[in-house]
Amino acid sequence: MPGSIRVFGWLEMARTADTLLEDIQGPTPGQMLRKRIFGHQGLLFGVAVLGLLLLVAIFAPLLAPHDPYAQDLLARMQPPVFLGGSWEHPLGTDHLGRDYLSRLIYGARISLLIGGFAALISGLIGTAMGVAAGYFGGRVDMAVTFLINVRLAMPVVLVALAIVAVFGGSLQVVILVLGFLLWDRFAVVMRSSTLQVRSREYVTAAQAIGCSTSRVILSEIMPNIVNNLIVVVTLEMAHAILLEAALSFLGLGVQPPTPSWGLMVSEGKQMMLFEPWLVAIPGITLFVLVLAINLLGDGLRDVTAPENRS
């Protein structure tokens, strides 16, 4: 059918595409982002709880009513106020007579520290590997993909236990072990994000005008995949915190007297059948923290990538 010309030309000029299904007087992108953020209950909850815990962690010395390390063997396992205890120890005392509330407050520092640093280390490793694989492709990509496979094949808990058993559990060892074990998701996500971005015009343009590789990666690729990175950071942070708790539960996490929440659950476990609050209190705070981080991560994903919204 020669001579047949479709009407796309003026249709585009008329700017009418899809207007039927959307309000034509739509908000600006900024307004929409704000609307999405403030309309997202999960995100708001996550930000609020995480912010609160961050403040608690920073101002722990001001907030804690007692020294979290001061033991009193004569006042062991005092019940919390709501179970008939005294206001001297609002959340009771632990198995060595240390103030539970104070330990909980200082514990926020430990959990956030472990989660934060483990995510930082694994993020650096995984992002470097993922971006390199996605950007350079070829052999680099093959090598990174292979390493990801190897890493995924290793049973995390088992390997972490074995390493901590060898080097002894300290805050540094736990952070390093988790950091070196949890980079896989960073690598996977960063690799595919980089792959998507690499072929975009602005990247090609930057390459064409002779920008150095590092400059292309840092100023053209990274800003465009950073939102995915942030989402993975939150998920891995939560993952690291849970894993640290599990290691501590198995007796191979951070060491006493460090008030880690996982360790507190582990220590309270002994009396779980008689004083369940010893396990319940740190267990619930742990749960709320991980919940908040996860909701934050999910929320960020929803807000920054609305097409992926579930």
Partner: protein, 305 residues
């Protein structure tokens, strides 16, 4: 298809070899095996005798090659602790871990897939919100804590379920739930997202235009396509589950391979730990390989390439 399988197989073998080398070298740093073998009450003379007996004084690379070549024939040596062949020891316990893993993943799939499907059919409905709630909870709840709380409620307070042991299937209920629930959120989210995606696709409209009923549309046309990524995920989760059953096995006193691994680390029972790390890795490798094959079978775009 054959080409595809061979390629995946080659990769799997290479990964397995690397993991074996890593686990071997890793555990060789794990303290003096002779001291661990001798036990708490042993004297220095005991330990020296054991060191000579087991040849721990030889170079590591020699020990690795010897171990690997025998491992390929299914001989993982003798457990330092039990003095039984490691392969026997593991085979015997693996059945419990496998049972647990199969139950766990079945539980996760049987709950997560229907929930995901229903949530996708009725987005933003009560069920969808419930499923979302469950998945958010599931991701945040420490499994050891969940297990302990289950014992408190169902064994101590209600006295419905036995807190430990493996005698009957009833003993597997709580461990199955605790192990399975952690895999649920991911499976459910993926099912939901996959179904939403597929249900909005053109070929579903085509099926409807042909006059296919809702059930046929959902299960024959939609689920078949939405389930493909779920299969991969389930295989990965199953691999993780087997490796992660340590916590569950120690809480519910299930004498499976995970518990054996944990104990063996404490006892420096090198041959057992090495064999277990390798076997757990192999599970992951085999499962992902099988899921690739299954995927290829499910997805003609891979099968008939």
């Amino acid at each position: 298809m054959l080409n595809f399988i061979l390629k995946r197989l080659g990769l799997a073998v290479l990964v397995a070899l690397t993991v074996s080398a890593i686990s071997f070298s890793l555990l060789f740093m794990a303290g003096d095996p002779a001291a661990a073998l001798a036990g708490e009450q042993a004297t220095d003379v005991d330990i020296e005798a054991i060191r000579r007996l087991y040849g721990f004084d030889r170079p590591m690379i020699v020990q690795y090659w010897e171990w690997l070549s025998r491992a390929l024939q299914g001989d993982f040596g003798e457990s330092y602790y039990f003095r039984l062949p490691v392969s026997d020891l593991i085979m015997e316990r693996l059945s419990i871990t496998m049972t647990l893993g199969v139950c766990g993943i079945s539980f996760a799939l049987l709950t997560a897939v229907p929930l995901g499907v229903v949530a996708a059919i009725r987005p933003n409905s009560l069920i969808d919100r419930f499923a979302l709630f469950l998945s958010v909870m599931g991701q945040a709840m420490p499994s050891f804590w969940f297990g302990l709380m289950m014992i408190v409620v169902f064994s101590i307070q209600l006295n419905w379920l036995p807190p430990s042991g493996t005698k009957t299937w009833v003993h597997f209920i709580m461990p199955t739930i605790v192990l399975g629930y952690y895999a649920m959120p991911a499976i459910m989210r993926l099912t939901r997202a996959g179904m939403l995606d597929v249900l909005g696709s053109d070929y579903i409209r085509t099926a409807r235009a042909k006059g296919a009923g809702e059930g046929r549309v959902l299960f024959k046309h939609a689920l078949r396509n939405a389930i493909i990524p779920v299969v991969s995920l389930a295989a990965v989760q199953m691999g993780f589950m087997l490796g992660g059953s340590i916590v569950v096995e120690s809480i519910f006193a299930l004498h499976g391979a995970g518990y054996l691994a944990w104990e063996s680390i404490g006892r420096n029972d090198l041959p057992t730990v090495q064999a277990l790390i390798l076997i757990f890795s192999m599970f992951y490798i085999v499962f992902t390989f099988l899921s690739d094959v299954l995927n290829a079978w499910l997805d003609p775009r891979i099968r008939v390439a």
